[in-house]
Structures are given as structure tokens and as C-alpha cells.
Symmetry: C2
């Protein structure tokens, strides 16, 4: 299950999409069974052929080819680096296609533990550790490839809370490089950048982390740097509901999705000064269990009608959970979040104890219909805004996956 499939698949994209939507084709099922439960994959690796060795995560392989790109529905591994690249001025449509063929070849090799073509360090590629490489297109790439830019593929509308910095914003091309091991991520990102170098300039690099393998219990939600359970409302990977929330089902990006990537600085020093009650009021949930203040478990629906003895709503109107979920009928939108944390050295001269936050990553079929209304509500009124500041922002179109012999974006740019 976790070993690279040695048989070459020569299926076309349409076949893949069909297989994927039926949940049946060999590739679709393979990707799903490997991808949908990090713990299962791990357990599988430990007891299966790949697990006879003593470093089970090192050998884990997430199939690169399939109807959807890996790195979205597949479990979020421990380490990721997000690379925002700009095309060099002289790169034209042919150049874009050459670049994508190169990156696709690199990604297919690296994710199955083979070295990239120009790689002089095959040992560093030998342990893919569930490596995924996910590619996204900014509006600049679509233009350069002489194809229509979808109306939603544009900077987000400005929000009042934004303090965006150019160095974390925008980009023509996105590479999300993620694996269970940061050394694998580091090497894969270098190899991809090396091959992309003739075509692109690095606009930004954002390394992030989640829990190490074996430290997050399967099926549980990760805490963010504020200590909040973060992602409780996510649609469940592998479900029909997930597919509906995430995958685009018409037009050139069918089988793909959109990614919103926002760098959100978290004021941990300020958060430390808030007591537990203030924190719980700001989110509308309990710090310990993540349950709504109206009771139940992390996954219980909040009861926005419940009032306390003195007549106030138990979950405040301006709490994060209420604003995120929507207040009025018909306001309930969903996105799939797959964030990473960052915690870096404070800038020189700063008296802050940390420069930390979240690389917020969400996938949704419809940026304008799903992400934007949620963010507009949070922007207008969300107590959590006191401690969070978006300092970077980008939207990318994620093309569908590809079959062997194809390159990423082929169907979109053909």
C-alpha cells in the first residue's frame, strides 16, 4: 500500500477523473486508501512490507499520479514548505509548459523515493517519508500561458484586519512541499527550486510545522500555537461531503480546487495576558475540549440560541465560532483547512518573545462563494482578531492531478 507502484499507468486524465468520481479506479482507490488516514498509513507501514525496517515513516509513499493532486485530501504530514515563485520576464507559454513538465517529472520521482534528474544526492531522495508536491497557478501563470484567468483567481478583496506585506503575498506559481520528515522537505524543495531556477525567481519561502508522526493521536484535531483545537469543523477527507466542498466539478479546473494561503501572525505575548475565560469567550469554545460553550464535544454543533441566567447568549455574537459559521439562515459555508504553524526568531531589535503564527491554508471549490463570505464575517467582527494579523495572502488555482506521461496543468493549459 505504501510502496511505489511499479506498474506504469498510462491512463488519460478523463479516465482518472471518472475513476476518481466513482471512487473505483485503481489509482483513485490507491490514493484514497493511502491518503485518508495518516495513522492507518503509518500502521500499515509498520506491519506491511515497508515496515519491516525500523524507520516506518521513511519509506511511506503517497502516490503522485491520480485524479486529484496529492497534498490536499491526503493527511497533512509533519513538515511543509510553501514556495511562492514568479516567472522570469522572458518565459513564454512554451516556457511555462517546459517548466511544468520538469516539475512534474521531479515531483513524480521524488515522491516515490527516486532522485530528480539533476540530483547528485540520491541518498537524500531515498526516503520520501510520505512526500507530496502540490502545484498551484497564480493569475500571472495563466496569462503567460495564454489562457483565460478564472474570475476567482485574483487577490482576495481587502480586509480591514489585513496588514499584508509584499514579501508574503501573491506569486505566479505555488509549490507546496510536504513530508513527515523536514530533511526530506528541505531536499525536495531544493531540487524543485534548482530545476525551476531558469524559469522563476523565488518570491517567498514559508516553512511550517505540524505535530511529529506519533505525537498526534489518530482522528484528533491539532492544537495551534494558541492552544486551540484548530480544524474541528473540517469536512472529513474521503467523504462525499469533502468532495463537494473541495473539488471543482466544471470547467478547465475540474478535479482541481482553489487554495487560499494566508500568513497570520499570532500575538502570543498578548494572548498570554488574556485569561482563560477571555480566551473562551473570544472563540466561543472551551480551551480544553474544543467543545462549544453550550456543551457537548468538540464536534457538537454550537447552540447560538442558548442564553445564560442573566439573559446573554452563552456563545457571544462576536465569538470566532459564531462569526465563522454564520449567523443568519443560508450563511453556512464550508472550507477545508490544512494549516501549518511557524515559530521563528523575532526580527532583530524586536522585544517580542517570538515571531509566530499560522500558515493558514484552505482548499475550496469556490473561493468567492465559500472562503470570502466567511472571511468577511470574521473581518467585520471576531474577537479573535485582537490577537491575529494577516501579513501575507495569496490565491492559487490548483489544477487536477495527472496520469503518468502527462504533466500537471496539461488539461488546464491545453
Amino acid at each position: 500500500m505504501t510502496a511505489p507502484d511499479p506498474s506504469p499507468h498510462r491512463l488519460g486524465r478523463r479516465h482518472l477523473l471518472r475513476a476518481g468520481s466513482l471512487g473505483a479506479g485503481a489509482l483513485g482507490v490507491g490514493a484514497a486508501s493511502v491518503g485518508l488516514d495518516r495513522s492507518l498509513r503509518r500502521r500499515g507501514a509498520e506491519t506491511g512490507p515497508a515496515g519491516d525496517g525500523p524507520a516506518p515513516h521513511a519509506a511511506a509513499v503517497i502516490p503522485f499520479h491520480g485524479p486529484h493532486q496529492a497534498g490536499i485530501e491526503t493527511p497533512a504530514p509533519a513538515a511543509a514548505t510553501f514556495l511562492g515563485l514568479d516567472l522570469r520576464e522572458e518565459v513564454d507559454r512554451e516556457g511555462v509548459l517546459r517548466l511544468l513538465r520538469l516539475l512534474t517529472d521531479d515531483a513524480a520521482r521524488l515522491t516515490r523515493g527516486q532522485s530528480a534528474l539533476a540530483d547528485t544526492e540520491p541518498e537524500m531522495a531515498a526516503e520520501p517519508a510520505a512526500l507530496t508536491v502540490t502545484v498551484g497557478f497564480g493569475p500571472g501563470l495563466m496569462e503567460r500561458a495564454e489562457r483565460a484567468v478564472p474570475d476567482w483567481l485574483a487577490p482576495l478583496p481587502p480586509f480591514g484586519i489585513d496588514q499584508l506585506e509584499e514579501r508574503f503575498t501573491g506569486g505566479d506559481l505555488l509549490l507546496q512541499v510536504a513530508a513527515e520528515d523536514p530533511l526530506t522537505v528541505s531536499h525536495a524543495a531544493r531540487m524543485l527550486l534548482k530545476d525551476a531556477r531558469a524559469f522563476t525567481r523565488v518570491r517567498w519561502v514559508q516553512p511550517g510545522f505540524r505535530r511529529s508522526p506519533g505525537t498526534q493521536a489518530p482522528g484528533t484535531t491539532m492544537r495551534n500555537l494558541f492552544g486551540q483545537l484548530d480544524g474541528s469543523a473540517n469536512p472529513r477527507p474521503g467523504s462525499d461531503h469533502f468532495a463537494k466542498v473541495v473539488w471543482i466539478d466544471e470547467g478547465p479546473f475540474t478535479g482541481g480546487t482553489s487554495m487560499v494561503l494566508r500568513r497570520i501572525r499570532m500575538d502570543l505575548d498578548g494572548w498570554d495576558e488574556a485569561d482563560r475565560s477571555a480566551r473562551e469567550q473570544s472563540t466561543g469554545t472551551r480551551m480544553d475540549s474544543g467543545a462549544p460553550l453550550t456543551g457537548g464535544t468538540e464536534f457538537s454543533p454550537p447552540d447560538f440560541t442558548q442564553v445564560s441566567a442573566n439573559g446573554f447568549p452563552v456563545i457571544g455574537e462576536f465569538s470566532h465560532v459564531r462569526r465563522a459559521r454564520g449567523v443568519d439562515e443560508g450563511e453556512h459555508q464550508e472550507i477545508f483547512r490544512r494549516p501549518y504553524n511557524y515559530d521563528e526568531a523575532p526580527p532583530p531589535g524586536s522585544t517580542a518573545l517570538s515571531e509566530a503564527g499560522q500558515i493558514f491554508v484552505s482548499f475550496q471549490a469556490d473561493v468567492l462563494g465559500q472562503f470570502v463570505p466567511i472571511q468577511q464575517r470574521l473581518d467585520a467582527l471576531d474577537l479573535l482578531n485582537q490577537w491575529t494579523t494577516p501579513i501575507g495572502s495569496a490565491v492559487f488555482a490548483i489544477p487536477p492531478g495527472c496520469a503518468e506521461g502527462e504533466h500537471l496543468g496539461q488539461s488546464v493549459l491545453e
Copy 2:
């Protein structure tokens, strides 16, 4: 084995040291059996009481109390942050002692999964993930505590290859915070900094990574970002030889050691341009196996007398392995290396693909007699210097461990 020991130990430091040196006392054995094999600890956790849960690494505990501080002989976990702090001007001897009592209390709690005193996020402390907190003293702290500064506790002599930056150099107090999970490290570092804030200013913060749990096979050596097996010559933790190389056996720091911490930038872009043969000549070892070019395995001694058909030494005179090991009789010194990698965003405006390198960390009983001669030989002639540049440097005195009821540094500063 990996669960916190609930019984309070009220043993004095001398007892601990005696127990440690005999390898017998309850604490000494406990620390050794937990500490010396990351894979055993992991396996123990998976099959033992702490391992019934599905996140075995989360519950792993490395005992804080003992004859030596944890975080040296104990296995190097996946994530670490190194904090260099300067004492505020107004902090006197009493202030230093108060600070150390506070940090000792925090460290003892956090490493066993309890929250620090001022911590409003007990959930974040609940999973120690093999957390260790190791404290070191710079010369400034000894002076402030009105105690003699050992002659070796000073900046290293300048080396020709150095391009030291103030922002990564020196410091009065060192905290090495390490765990199998970066979220644990992030939280613990914050809690310690919060309590240290009234006494210290942050001088530098250096986060680093090693392989994730389950990606490095037990007993094997980690590759660094150059792809080199790095640490093959290390003395084996738990051995008498290790004790001889690392622990100070006389004077106030008995049971302690010295730490050299150097930030070494690695020119990965330049390294990429070197072919495999040039790389192997520069180190004197094979890239794949780490074996000396004269044959054998990673652990075989290099044969410096072997010459090739045309009469040249197989391992060049200027190769890293030859310079590191010493050329003439009596030149062989040893240190224990416990490095971490860093790979961060290139500085704004840079055309480099990465800002990466190694947080070189070594422990040795005698800085001047062990570390300095090795570094002097490497400084004078080492082909690897082409691609490496030390940009930060600090030396710290690591006091011995302490028993419950004592604080770190108590014996040194009493």
C-alpha cells in the same frame, strides 16, 4: 520506563553523582535506560503503559533530575530551539539564583507533562514528547553570580574562516529546549522565556530540526543538508568512553560539561555545483555509505597511509576527515556532536535559493584541550571550508544535573 516517576527523590547532588558514576542509583539507571536509545524508548512507549494510546511519542518522558542534565547523553529528538539570553543590567547574584530556581521548576514540570506555574494552557504541556531543557552558563552569568569564571569559559579563539555575526554570538545564559514534537518545543520555550523575561533579554533564538521520529533507523547516523552522514565518529552514549569525553570530573562543574554552539552556514547552491568526486575528496569519505575512501564501513578507521596507483594518498591531506582526526601522533581528540539543521527563508533581496546550515553543537569535558585543537586544524586546511561559514559562536558551561528540591547550578554557584 517512560512514565513520570511519581515518587519524590530527595537525594543530594553528591549522592546522585556517586550513583551516576557507579551506573547504579535509581535515578542514574532510570535516566540511562530511558535516554540512551531513541528507538528503544519509542518501542518501550509503544508496548508499555504509555503506549496503549495511539500517540506513543507524545507521552514519552525523559527524567529531568539526575547526576547529569538531560539533553546531552539522551537521544537527540526531532526538534530543538536554542535560546541565548542576556541578563538584564539590574540582576545581581540573588536575581541569578531566583531565575535559576524558576527555570528549574518550570523545566521539571514541563518535562513531565505538567504546566509551568504561570501557564494558562495546561493542554499544551500535557504531551511532553521526550522534552528536555538544558541550561548553560556564559561568562557573564558567572560574574553576575560572583563566582570565578573558568578559564575555558570564554569566546573561542578567532578562526580564519569565521564570519561571526553579533546576532548569533555569545550570551549569558543558554536554554536548549528539545522534544520529538515541534509544538511541544514551541510551547515550552515560550513558558521558559515568559518566566525569564523579568531577568533577561533575548539575544538570539535558533530553531533547528533533525529527522522526525520513525524516519531515522535506530543506530544509524543522520545525514546533514549536504547529504553527508554526520556524526559517525561520535562516542557512543552510555559508554565509559562517552563519559570520559564529555563529563567534567573535577572542580565546581563536576558532572557537567562544556557546550560549543556554532551556527554554520552551508552554501548549498555552491555544493550543488560540486560533482560527487569533488565532494568525496573534500571529506575523504564516500557519500553513500560514509565509509572512508580507503574502504570498509562508516565506522572503519580511515587509512591515511594508503596511496593510489599514481602515488597520491587516497584520503587527501586536506580532507575533512583527516584534518578532523589529526595527522600526527598524539593529535587525536574527541568531542560529542549533537547538531541540528536549519533551513529558513533566504533574506529579502537575496538570490540564494536557501539560507540553510547546521546548528553545530558539541559537548566535551575540555573545550581548550578537545574542541579547539580540532577546530584549529579544520580552520587551517579543510576542503569542506569552501562551502561552510561559521556565522555564530558561543561557549557555555553546562552545570551538572540536580535532584528534586535543588536547582540547576546550585553546586556551581553555592
